[in-house]
């Protein structure tokens, strides 16, 4: 009996990972001469998507409780705008980051209270949150505000700091050895990923999230505090969004009302491609991480190609999402049949 650990959900995770490998290998074969095979290409995917990794982890957490948070994109825009305007007004980088994190806690607590204790639909609550955050962004400033060296030296330095890796470099056309590097955001994102992974697997709160998503009524019957668990999930998601927003800002170095439009959908699709079920109770951040990587690889391939219109990543993502939803429901049907 012990050797049948491979259940539907682990298979899904393997499919996700395999898909990433296939996509990436395909990119390497097709665009090898354009430098796709360089290790740096992979690292660039991580750098570009550091913020998205944090936010997708947050969404995975709320989706495990069968919830959703569609406010995250707008919150990222609000965070970036606050950072840009705040630092322009002379507030230091560290206090600004703390303020952003605090806003995350408050924002999440309000949404979590409405969803957990007043039992309002998460979609509605976070949609209100989305409009609020997007609106607040414009209230703070309607123009695009850039963060330059003059605005805040420390923030600028963090953004441009390269963490060189001792392996995987290559020699370019000018016979110069190019060392591969990552940026601070990647370290933050990977740290978040590991912490959330451990939290979900080894803490009471993590397991309670799965229980609530599996069956809310049962979780309550078994003596779990469903309302508090949900509240905490939304707070965690919001805090991760704040962290992700800061990582995002380190890449864009500006605040703008139009920023991070549809970012919530990127995060949700990453989680879904990574095997998280919208119905709750199933999923894990490793899958989500690969979901982000798949999305990132698609964009990267399209960018490297150079001729494809920028709308192609959307169409490919749509196809993938469709594929995954179909696979998921096939597994669900098989499981039902096995039981009957």
């Amino acid at each position: 009996m012990k050797n049948t650990k491979l259940n539907g959900n682990t298979i899904l995770l393997f499919i996700t990972i395999a898909l990433f490998v296939v996509l990436y290998a395909g990119g390497c074969i097709a665009y090898g001469e354009k430098g796709f095979t360089h290790f740096q290409t992979f690292l660039n995917i991580l750098i570009t998507n550091a913020g998205l990794i944090c936010i997708s982890c947050g969404l995975t957490v709320v989706m495990l409780t069968a919830g959703i948070d569609i406010s995250v994109g707008a919150v990222v825009a609000m965070d970036c705008m606050l950072l840009a305007v705040g630092m322009q007004k002379g507030i230091g980088a560290v206090p600004m980051i703390l303020i952003i994190l605090l806003i995350g806690v408050v924002f999440g607590a309000v949404q979590g209270y409405l969803i957990g204790y007043l039992q309002i639909q998460p979609f509605i609550v976070t949609m209100a949150g989305m409009f609020f955050a997007r609106g607040m962004t414009a209230v703070i400033c309607t123009d695009q505000v850039s963060i330059t060296q003059e605005t805040n030296e420390l923030f600028y330095n963090i953004a441009n700091y390269k963490i060189k890796l001792p392996f995987g470099g290559y020699i370019n056309n000018h016979d110069v050895y190019v060392e591969p590097y990552i940026r601070v955001g990647v370290v933050v994102a990977l740290l978040v990923l590991i912490l959330i992974f451990l939290m979900l697997r080894y803490t009471k709160f993590g397991r309670a999230l799965y229980a609530v998503g599996g069956s809310e009524q049962s979780a309550a019957m078994m003596g779990l505090n469903v309302k508090l668990t949900k509240l905490k999930a939304y707070v965690l998601c919001s805090v991760l969004t704040s962290i992700g927003g800061i990582c995002y800002c380190l890449n864009t170095m500006s605040g703008s009302v139009q920023q991070a439009l549809g970012y919530e959908m990127d995060a949700i699709s990453s989680a879904v491609i990574g095997g998280t079920l919208l119905t709750g109770g199933v999923g894990n951040v490793v899958g989500t991480f690969f979901g982000v990587l798949i999305n990132g690889t698609i964009s990267s391939i399209v960018k490297t190609n150079g001729k494809l219109a920028s709308s192609w990543p959307n169409i490919l993502t749509a196809a993938l999402l469709f594929l995954f939803i179909v696979i998921q429901s096939i597994f669900a049907v098989i499981r039902e049949k096995k039981k009957a």
Binding site: T4, Y202, R207, A208, G214, V282, R335
Partner: protein, 506 residues
């Protein structure tokens, strides 16, 4: 208190708006016994259980639990668990997406020094719990990979492991097959040996006699009695559950009909709906009132639903007036001249915000098709006619049906089907929850309709009212049509048929 008693409830009284759900009910549970709690729908079984488990707050009475001083009053399932009362329901209240071990321990996981959950430890303990109960499964697998019976047993194992003294099993066998039920019984007997007091609620009589030691019977919210199993044969149990007292209303004159001569309106042969009704043959004649009897859950409503197409028949044939027909959905049945008054009129019958007139013409309109509205004048005539015929007490025909009493609402629904001019009417519990006077009016109306040549299927849990109105009776037990009675229609013969099994005790 006698020795060995683990739980006593005395004088429990509980009122819902307008209804006394429990009136001075006693219940005693001893260590190491399996105690059946029996009663028909509305007898107060679930209300009593909810009082014990803290979901309902009862008004009067006391609950005592062995080892705890003074009366106990629970305010939540959690309180109940803390004093040793655990409940396992028909629907498994566990998380299918977690492993068996997690389901056993979630919310009370052992922790490591780092305050993380100690998987290794609870996996090991879970395996031991399941092994001790003789259930051979891998506890690290997700719960959803196992059958309902196993899930049910995991729920029981969780309850038992939480030091429960009282285990309440609320219809745990409803969705299990025979083999699974047997496994569950083995587990129950094992727990009995360990000294757990088990309350077993079920509507399967066979199961009560297979596993229980003692029976407490409730009827209409009152305590009927507590009996050791050997002293209460089936027939007596059914009598205790249903009440024997015939109500002394005016006798209704039934038309005697000659079955061989009259036209066959409905002719079903091996009609079946997988999972609810086993294949049955049934002929219903013109001008006949046929009763369908049986305990709640015996399949009496389901039988009617299959004929009417509310549950699509999975196999078998149906002839209406000699013609082979296929009924896929209720509208097909309506077009063949059938009508059905559902037993749950709140959920399936009345549309509260519509007026009496609108509720009456609803089925006629559906039959005509939505594109052909009935002229207002015709609607008003129809409504007035039936309000008068059935003497529906209402302020006006345009009043909302919500404002009427239950009995009058029932009459409106009846009018709806009469208005379709159906030849075959199915009335499922048409008199439930209405006062005695209106009851006898409806019974008379049923008989009158039959005299006019309509065929009627009358489903009721009150044997006496079926005896008064029906020419013939069909008896259902465990989803199977077990008997057809026509000549010898008496309280005793019907009860014996409903109870089945040991006729020797009569």
């Amino acid at each position: 208190m006698e020795n060995n008693v683990v739980l006593t409830a005395r004088g429990i009284t509980m009122t819902f708006p307008g209804v006394k759900a429990l009136d001075n009910v006693d219940f005693t549970l001893r260590k190491g016994e399996i105690h059946a709690l029996m009663g028909e729908n509305g007898a107060g079984k679930s209300t009593l259980i909810k009082c014990l488990t803290g979901i309902n707050d009862f008004e009067a009475g006391e609950i005592h639990i062995d080892g705890i001083e003074g009366p106990v009053r629970n305010h939540s399932t959690r309180d109940a668990q803390n004093v040793g009362i655990s409940t396992v329901y028909q629907e498994v209240n566990l998380c299918p997406n977690l492993s068996v071990a997690e389901n056993l321990f979630i919310g009370r996981e052992p922790l490591t020094k780092l305050h993380t959950v100690d998987r290794a430890s609870y996996n090991k303990r879970s395996q031991k719990i399941m092994d001790d109960l003789g259930i051979e499964i891998d506890v690290t697998q997700n719960l959803e990979n196992y059958s309902l019976a196993i899930q049910q047993m995991v729920a029981i194992a969780r309850a038992v492991d939480m030091d429960c003294k009282v285990l309440i099993l609320d219809e745990p066998t409803s969705s299990l097959d025979d083999e699974e039920v047997e496994k569950l019984f083995v587990l129950m007997r094992r727990l009995r040996e360990q000294g757990v007091g088990i309350v077993f609620v079920t509507h399967f009589l066979e199961q009560v006699y297979a596993v229980c030691d003692r029976i407490t019977v409730l009827r209409n919210g009152t305590f009927v009695g507590e009996y050791p199993i050997a002293e209460l044969p089936r027939v007596k149990l059914v009598a205790a559950m249903m009440g024997k007292d015939l109500n002394d209303l005016d006798a209704i004159e039934k038309e005697q009909i000659d079955l061989d001569k009259s036209e066959v309106v409905i002719d079903a042969s091996s009609l079946t709906h997988a999972g609810t009704v086993k294949p049955f043959d049934l002929k219903i004649h013109k001008g006949e009132v046929i009763g369908v009897g049986g305990l709640l859950g015996s399949g009496r409503s389901e039988l009617a639903r299959v004929i009417y197409g509310a549950d699509k028949a999975s196999s078998g044939n149906l002839k209406v007036k000699g013609k082979e027909v296929k009924i896929n959905q209720p509208i097909d049945a309506m077009n063949l001249g059938m009508g059905m008054l559902p037993d749950d009129r709140k959920a399936e019958g009345i549309i509260g915000d519509l007026s009496i007139r609108e509720n009456i013409i609803l089925a006629v309109q559906a039959k005509r098709g939505m594109m052909k509205p009935i002229p207002m004048k015709k609607q008003e005539e129809l409504a007035d006619y039936y309000i008068d015929l059935l003497s529906i007490k209402c302020p006006s025909r345009e009043a909302k049906i919500n404002q009427l009493s239950g009995g009058n609402q029932q009459k409106v629904i009846l009018a709806r089907w009469l208005a379709t001019d159906a030849d075959f009417l199915i009335l499922d519990e048409p008199t439930r929850g209405i006062d005695v006077g209106t009851k006898s009016e409806i019974q008379k109306l049923v008989v009158d309709l039959a005299k006019e040549g309509k065929s009627i299927m009358f489903i009721s849990s009150e044997i006496s009212e079926m005896l008064r109105t029906c020419n013939r009776m069909v008896i259902m037990r465990d989803g199977e049509k077990v008997e057809e009675l026509d000549k010898d229609l008496t309280q005793e013969s019907v009860m014996a048929a409903i109870a089945g099994g040991d006729k020797a005790h009569e």
